[in-house]
């Protein structure tokens, strides 16, 4: 069996990729995808811990997180479409009427 640590390291790597994507990228869609990546890293960690404990509740949480991520995606894309209609751009640098 692959040891637990390997999964956690992978989950940590995915999470870090997600965080750096949010910080570095200027494209809203990519930022948004990176956020999904962060949630999926959390899912991977949950699953590996649940497997380790042989505890089914961890698996259930993953489904809940996936549902939340889907709801977040719906609202997020709606916001992005509303923005695009007003400004014709999905570059974060164009959204600076207020100073960050």
């Amino acid at each position: 069996m692959v040891p637990l640590e390997y999964y956690l390291i992978l989950s940590g790597i995915i999470f870090t990729i997600g965080v750096s994507g949010v910080v570095i990228s200027r494209n809203i869609i990519i930022v948004f995808m990176s956020i999904e990546l962060m949630l999926n890293a959390a899912n991977l960690a949950l699953i590996s811990f649940a497997r380790q404990f042989a505890d089914p509740s961890g698996h259930v949480f993953v489904f809940i997180v996936m549902a939340v991520a889907a709801a977040e995606a719906a609202v997020g894309l709606a916001i992005i479409i509303a923005l695009f209609r007003n400004k014709d751009s999905i570059n974060l640098d164009d959204f600076n009427v207020m100073k960050w």
Binding site: L8, I35, L39, D55, M98
Partner: protein, 493 residues
């Protein structure tokens, strides 16, 4: 694996008590009802939605009061221990409901002024309130996460409800990106807390005798701290607050600065004081730094603002810093004081926002300091009300702001630790600094002549109701804290 599923199903008891769940049922039911009802209403009959909303909030408040009086020492775990209802969470819910009630009162007229479709607005407010109530009652980290998401998703939409405005778009986008980013951290942290203790139940996490790995627990605690830090707007996770608060429509800003902030603190209290007590000494150090940074930076940046709305946004950051003192103190009395402070802050802050909305809801008006010029002369009574709100925000007696600060600082000093006394001294210095920018509004209002003739203010019924409630609350909480004695006998843990 098969076996454990079976044992879980056998030991599964939902243990639902509908009476104590009444506030949630009322709010969630009415949120669904308003959403269904709204498309069928045309013209003036749309007012029905607004009236139903505030009536349901009042009904929920009444049901909280009756649960409170009939079962004084309530401690019930429901939905297989995932939902905890006790007197502490009931009081938190009352704070959220008061915030939402005041928001509904100030919204009706202002939405019409700004041409915002009002049907979904009320439904979103109610859903957000429902999410906050879940957060305060969460007995499980997953319930806390879901509650937080219900609240946040509604707020992302509310922030951008002024769809044609670039400012609202930007506020909504920034709030969404930062909020979802924070949720990622929070969920990752919850996964690691689960990994360290084998459970996500808030009560079981402390009792978990076999902590598998302290490293996982510390990683989890740090990630949860970052996630919730974003939600309460603690420095250095505060950068979204000024923009989101400025860009959103003003009544939504009032709502966001009261209820959701209190809800994020409810989550903070649940996670760090109940669940992660084994890490108390490490958490205290981190929270001390967060608290000191938050109140100082919030204050310094507030001084330089020329827009009252943005100034109130920075002031909300520094107030979060004061509440964090209660978390550093880590005692039952401090949790009570923190809750009392949040109630005071809700009342006085929405009061200040109410006056801001009255000033903004005129032709060619904005939220700059200059819009207040001459208001005190033209409307002396309104001027005095705003002065009292500002004095209360600055923390002078005999107002709510003073009493809240007094209780938090007292609970911190009672612990007797030197580091906390240093923190309290810092907080007092900060309160003195904050007097400058709060009273600047008063000075402009009474002493500066307006450039043109002062345009009249529209006094709508809802706004007057909100002013009466928030002013009554500000004075009562400050002058007669005795009548809130029941508050001071309730503590988390």
């Amino acid at each position: 694996m098969q076996e454990s599923v079976k044992t879980i199903l056998e030991n599964f008891s939902l243990n639902i008590d509908l009476v104590t769940l009444m506030p949630e049922i009322i709010i969630c039911g009415m949120a669904l009802l308003t959403m269904i009802l709204e498309p069928f209403l045309k013209g003036d009959s749309r007012k029905v939605v607004m009236h139903l909303t505030w009536l349901s909030i009042v009904a929920a408040l009444i049901s909280i009061y009756s649960i409170w009086t009939s079962q004084p020492n309530l401690q019930s775990l429901q939905f297989a221990d995932a939902y905890r209802i006790d007197s502490y969470s009931l009081l938190f819910k009352a704070v959220f409901l008061i915030g939402s009630l005041l928001t509904v009162f100030i919204s009706s007229n202002f939405l019409k002024f700004k041409n915002v479709p009002d049907g979904e607005f009320y439904s979103l407010i109610l859903f957000a309130t429902f999410g906050m109530m879940n957060m305060a009652s969460a007995g499980d980290l997953i319930v806390l996460f879901i509650g937080l998401e219900i609240m946040s998703l509604c707020l992302y939409v509310l922030a951008g409800i002024l769809r044609r405005s670039v400012y609202a778009n930007e506020a909504s986008l920034k709030y969404f990106l930062m909020g979802a980013f924070a949720s990622g951290f929070l969920m990752f942290g919850i996964a690691f807390i689960y990994g360290a203790t084998g459970t996500t139940s808030i009560v079981d996490v402390i009792q978990s005798s076999e902590i598998l790995s302290n490293t996982y627990l510390i990683i989890g605690a740090a990630m949860v701290m970052i996630g919730l830090g974003f939600k309460v707007g603690a420095v250095p996770f505060h950068m979204w607050i000024p923009d989101v608060y400025t860009g959103s429509i003003t009544n939504v800003t009032a709502f966001m600065s009261a209820g959701p902030k209190a809800a994020a603190f409810a989550a903070f209290f649940q996670v760090f004081i109940v669940a992660l007590r084994p890490l108390q000494s490490e958490i205290e150090v981190v929270l001390w730094i967060l608290s000191a940074l938050t109140m100082t930076l919030g204050n310094i940046l507030a001084i330089t603002q020329n827009d009252v709305k943005r100034m109130l946004a920075y002031s909300s950051i520094s107030h979060a810093g004061y509440v964090l003192i209660a978390l550093v103190a880590f005692t039952p009395a401090a949790t009570t004081a923190g809750l009392y402070y949040l109630l005071c802050y809700t009342v006085m802050n929405i009061g200040a926002f109410t006056v801001l909305i009255m000033v903004e809801a005129r032709e060619n008006s904005d939220t700059n300091f200059s819009s207040f010029a001459g208001m005190g002369r033209r409307y002396p009574f309104l001027g005095i009300l705003l002065t009292i709100f500002m004095i209360s925000l600055a923390g002078f007696p005999p107002t709510a702001g003073f009493m809240g600060k007094f209780l938090v600082f007292k609970s911190a000093i009672d612990t007797g630790s030197t580091s906390l006394i240093v923190l309290v001294v810092l907080a007092v210095v900060n309160s003195l600094v904050s007097v400058y920018y709060y009273l600047r509004v008063v000075v402009v209002m009474f002493m500066v002549e307006p450039e043109l003739e002062y345009r009249p203010i529209n006094f709508a019924t809802g706004i007057i109701a909100a002013l009466v409630i928030s002013m009554g609350g500000t004075l009562l909480l400050g002058i007669y804290p005795q009548i809130f004695a029941f508050f001071l006998n309730t503590a988390l843990i």
